[in-house]
Amino acid sequence: MNAAAPRVLVIDDERQIRRFLDIGLRAEGYHVLEAASAAEGLVLAATRDPDLVILDLGLPDREGHEVLAELRQWSTVPVLVLSVRDDEGEKVRALDNGANDYVTKPFGIQELMARLRALLRNHPAETATDAPPVYDDGHLRIDRTRREVFLEQEPVPLTRKEYAVLAALLKHAGRVVGQQQLLREIWGPSHVQDTHYLRIVIGRLRQKLDDDPAEPQWIKTEPGVGYRFLEQQPPSDLR
């Protein structure tokens, strides 16, 4: 076993789900820790220092949200939540409680792996004192120090709100940002229910960035939950 392999802690009471996650994760080169209950999971999280936690919200001994809250009291480890379909409320609550992302059951292993990669890639950036000041993927360039945005070298005039939303998404690139969080940070705590502001701003941002919502390059909607900034790999010749 490679000592540098990232350790992933899986907390789920379903044996079959743990089994296929274990097989899949090991095939991708991760080191897997398994817990069948909340209590066991919290002990492993505290003693084995995992790089990432996959947490099922429906555990037999304790509510998943409680486990999440307790974990967040002493750890910043990225947490990916497994939630049930069609319950955006639960997803939003999990994000509010400190989860970093979620997948909906039933989920495909490829989707899960993509999320894990994004979480592991971004985690160190967040703990660093400041993120790189300029995002540039060859098409879109966002200069955070000068608050300027360029699309294909052309400056894109953004309103303050539009820029603020884009910057907030970029800060958590690859991860979902809850709509309530965006509204709270940008419009203020009294506007967390005014999702129509956000919808209009996102619509304009997409128009200005010429981002097709059907096949988004940068701004992806997570229905009922929030938005995600997709980091594009810069073309190798520009690296």
């Binding site: 955006e88 409320g89 919808r199 209009i200 919502p213 059907a214």
Partner: protein
């Protein structure tokens, strides 16, 4: 009808009745006395014969207000007084002049005839007035009863109308079964105190289906007159009319009986309607339950059968199978698992819709987002199906439960994918028109015959048609209609140009919220 209540005057004379009987005679005597006073004054100025006009006026005044007997009493009183005080020789009952004999004699005849005519007229006016009151009361009752949709409203309306028309406390007593105690179901103007006598009277009334209690021969010690509410053999309880302030007069008794009959009939009508509705709901629920059971056993078992079969084949012959076939079996397990997941979602949605437990968690959402999410799901499931979308250029905001509308649209898309011939494109377009948002899904399938365009949304139809191998959508379209309907929108099937069909979701557009701050 009036004979139901024995007149208490005959068996229980009271002080009040003496006043009632003597009153008119006292009144007649007073009027006559006034007439004599006037006559004494007039006597100084006019001929004796003309005094008869004063007496005639007095007799008429009595006649319009009292019965014939009283008017005759007044006429005779005037005749005697006229004769005694005014015709010479005065203060005797003898009359000297033949003229005066004629005057006094004719006066008596005219007074008697006039008083008869006047009392008849007064009677007629009084009976017309009673009839009109009665008709008005019955008409109002009829209106209130027909407005009442359920038993409770009818009971309350009936009791209120009767209390108003009869001027007494009216109470409706009901009981669950013959041997159960009576309960007050409705009362007006206030709730009564009922003791054993009333309950016994109510028992008699209900069992014999005739009035009982106060003023009748059964349970006469009760303070209420009990009227049965019975239509054919169906009992609807007993009406208790409070009689502590005295009995009802015959007119009011008749009115009460007529009103009780109307209330009884209204209650019977409501009972029949409720029974019919209950039977209808029960049979529909039963049909739906059976249909769902057969759908569950088929739609859930067939993907499970493929999954179990494929997996077992893999585990039994693993090494003996060529790679390509292993791949096919694995793909089948994944595909059938996803199909099973969709069926379960449909069943859950159906149950939620059916129980009316669908709580809408509305949020502002861009139309484009919903269409894109549904189309993306469809592309994942039917990678070979070509889909083209035409979306509005600007943001059209909806105020809906996004997951439900997405599911509704997805169900239509899934249906379109099933009916589309190989290689044909499914078109999805969304646009605002006439204050609503229309999302249309156009397929190039065989189209839907006009008669079936409504029926495809019917639960029984889609369930009966069933899953049809892996091509049907089961409950999808009826769920779609339920979800869109819950948002106040519509789903309809229209013919498409050049064959195929258009399924259109129309949703009301909300008032555009104020712009961003």
């Amino acid at each position: 009808m009036a004979s139901h209540m024995i007149n208490p005057r005959q068996n229980a004379p009271r002080r009040g009745h003496l006043v009632a009987v003597a009153g008119p005679y006292v009144f007649a005597t007073l009027v006559t006395a006034v007439a004599f006073g006037l006559a004494f004054v007039a006597d100084r100025y006019v001929a004796v014969a003309n005094l008869s006009l004063i007496f005639l006026t007095a007799v008429l005044a009595v006649a319009v207000r009292a019965r014939m007997r009283v008017a005759a009493y007044a006429a005779v009183l005037c005749f005697l007084g006229y004769n005694f005080f005014f015709t010479p020789p005065r203060y005797t009952f003898t009359i000297d002049s033949a003229n005066d004999v004629l005057t006094v004699g004719l006066f008596l005849v005219v007074a008697l005839v006039c008083s008869r005519l006047a009392t008849q007229l007064a009677d007629k006016v009084a009976s017309l007035r009673t009839a009109q009151t009665r008709a008005l009361a019955l008409r109002e009752l009829g209106q209130r009863l027909s407005a009442g949709a359920d038993t409770d409203t009818i009971r309350a309306a009936g009791v209120e109308c009767m209390a108003q028309a009869l001027g007494t406390n009216v109470t409706l007593l009901v009981r669950d079964a013959q041997d159960r105690p009576w309960n007050v179901s409705a009362s007006a103007p206030r709730a009564p105190l009922l003791d054993t006598a009333e309950r016994v009277a109510a028992d008699f009334c209900d069992r014999l289906a005739e009035p009982a209690g106060y003023g009748t021969e059964r349970a006469r010690e009760a303070a209420c007159w009990m009227l049965p509410l019975r239509v054919n053999t169906q009992g609807h309880g007993v009406l208790a009319l409070n009689c502590t302030q005295g009995p009802l007069d015959p007119d009011h008794q008749n009115l009460a009986l007529a009103m009780a009959q109307d209330v009884g009939q209204a209650l019977e009508r409501a009972r029949l309607a409720e029974a019919l509705e209950k039977a209808r709901v029960e049979s529909e629920t039963e049909r739906l339950r059976n249909a769902l059971l057969s759908s569950v056993s088929h739609d859930l078992r067939s993907p499970l059968a493929s999954m179990i079969g494929s997996a077992e084949t893999l585990s039994s012959y693993d090494r003996m199978l060529p790679d390509g076939e292993r791949r096919q079996l694995l793909d089948a397990i994944v595909g059938e698992g996803q199909r099973l997941d969709r069926y379960i979602q449909n069943l859950l949605d159906m149950t939620r819709l059916g129980h009316g437990e669908l709580s809408l968690r509305r949020d502002w959402v861009d139309t484009t987002e919903i269409v894109i999410a549904a189309v993306a799901r469809m592309r994942r499931l039917f990678p070979d199906q070509a889909v083209a979308t035409t979306l509005p250029h600007s943001t059209i905001l909806l105020y809906v439960h996004p997951a439900l509308i997405e599911q509704a649209l997805f169900n239509i898309l899934e249906n379109a994918a099933h009916v589309s011939p190989l290689g044909a494109t499914v078109n999805v377009r969304a646009a605002a028109a006439d204050g609503e948002l229309r999302i249309e899904v156009v397929d190039h399938g065989p189209g839907i015959p006009p008669l079936e365009r409504e029926r495809i949304f019917d639960t029984f139809y889609s369930v009966a048609r069933g899953d049809r191998g892996d091509r049907g959508t089961g409950l999808g379209l009826s769920i779609c209609r339920g979800m869109v309907g819950a948002h106040g929108g519509r789903v309809e099937a229209l013919p498409a140009e050049g064959g195929g069909s258009i399924l259109r979701i129309s949703l009301p557009l909300p008032e555009t919220p104020e712009d961003e701050p």
